[in-house]
Symmetry: C2
């Protein structure tokens, strides 16, 4: 029996019906779904105050379900980082729990990796993926199948079309990363994992290219990017051009980054604030290889 708990470590759930719909859909996929008692709490923009959300995380860790999935992202984990008992979470991972989410949840993935080395999963959330209404297309097929296969342990790789120029590339390293803004919000703190020879994947939303570049250059100036074996770029979506850009685009950023860094920078990873999002093991040892323009991340 694959048990799955939905809990809310970050933002408030504006429409509880979406979480119930997500629970139904996850049930029909074969999961035994439990909605945490505090999942629908409200406190300003948070799903309950800090104590409530922290208790929910620890409660889920204690229950150690097969899957612990965030209802949504938003903002909230930053407030809890210094208080999370990471040992409790890593113990649940040892018991088989797969912690799943993205966006704000990047703080949990990376904090867990920094404090315990345990693996967790970058993937869907209840509200944004399984709760998406039929009118908006419902859950994305690739997202759903990738998630269910990853949770059952049958998924062992994801593939995607990348840039030319990397044919024959093959390397191994620790896969880590997630949302760029969240990753950078941990720099200088004890919650930032020190990963050397890693494969770093990044995505972001609502961030103008100049802000994405500034964050990437911070990672460069902090010595983080140079220590990686590869950088995988997902979607950087929903930003608005400015009249001052005059040709400065996300492509300019990738090209500037490549001019400053010898590490291969591959675009095209299907991950980000977009409907089609693969499920990836954060903290796992993986292989990256490229055949022609097809890239594969295998674990």
């Amino acid at each position: 029996m694959t048990t799955l708990q939905l809990f809310s470590p970050s933002g408030v759930i504006p429409q509880p019906a979406q979480v119930r719909l997500a629970a139904q859909r996850l049930k029909s996929l074969g999961f035994e779904v439990h909605i945490d008692e505090a999942a629908l709490k409200r406190c300003q923009r948070f799903a309950g105050d800090d104590d409530i959300r922290l208790a929910a995380i620890h409660r889920v860790a204690h229950a150690a379900p097969s899957v612990a999935m965030a209802t949504r992202g938003g903002y909230g984990l930053t407030r809890l980082l210094d208080r999370i008992e990471w040992k409790r979470l890593s113990r649940s991972v040892e018991q088989g729990t797969r912690w799943v989410g993205y966006s704000d949840f990047t703080a949990l993935h990376l904090g867990l990796l920094a404090h315990s080395g345990a693996t967790s999963w970058a993937g869907p959330t209840a509200m944004e993926d399984f709760g998406r209404p039929v009118e908006r297309g419902g859950p994305d097929d690739v997202t759903v199948s990738c998630f269910t296969e990853a949770m059952s342990g049958t998924l062992e790789a994801v593939g995607f079309r990348t840039d030319t120029g990397f044919d024959g590339l093959g390397l191994r390293g620790t896969l880590w990363g997630g949302n760029l803004t969240m990753l950078n919000s941990l720099l200088g703190t004890p919650h930032f994992p020190k990963v050397r020879q890693g494969i770093l994947f990044l995505e972001d939303v609502n961030e103008h290219p100049y802000r994405v570049e500034r964050q990437l250059l911070q990672l460069l100036q902090a010595g983080v990017l140079q220590q990686q074996r590869a950088i995988l770029l997902g979607h950087f979506s929903d930003w608005r051009p400015s009249p001052l850009d005059r040709g400065f685009t996300m492509k300019t950023v990738w090209s500037h980054l490549r001019s400053q860094l010898r590490v291969p920078v591959l675009t095209g990873l299907p991950f980000g604030h977009v409907p089609t999002r693969v499920t990836l093991p954060v903290g796992a040892r993986v292989s990256l290889f490229v055949q022609g323009r097809e890239a594969f991340v295998q674990w």
Copy 2:
């Protein structure tokens, strides 16, 4: 004779007439104004490519005018930080140059402080302050008089109305800070100054309170805020509320910060992306004292 050079280390100047207007107005205040040869260059969103902007900074440092003022902020200094020859800049400071700007220029203030300990000045820029058209009210009187007095060395303190509860406060420390996003963009890099027992001032623009809070908590988790003697908050302007806020405002952020920190946090500093902006010495040893609700920063 007080010489003043205008130069462009960051964003492109969309309307050169504004820089010329700023130069005229600065002349009428008694400055001998020189516009750097590359100040109006254009390369995408930058005032010339990286080499051009870097050369301009070094050229101004070599000329060592009384005042070296940025034409505007924007984005661009981040790209140059690893290449700026900080010794050249600190030598100009020894010769009497006061480097002035704000926003993106925070990177120069803090990089200079980190690498050399030299003092520079948070204050107006040519375009945003002295270039403001008459239709938009022209230059702000307080900004202008504060700047001219600071540059002539006659200004020795700025005062502002702050919160209740700090009457009688008196302490000394190194004044540092500027734009919060820029300050945080240096965390983890060699350009972040290690200031202990300092007086940290902060402002930001277009940043939602949850993003301001996330950045402040990063400074807290990185151990920076606890090492200060006081935090001075300027204006946090032009952010848009979200329907999800449900009562979460900038005041919530200040109150959460105060609940996490024993260091006094004072609001009301007239600094930020607003017309009235005082000129402050970054890196100088200052006194902070409060009488009733009137706070003073004295150097």
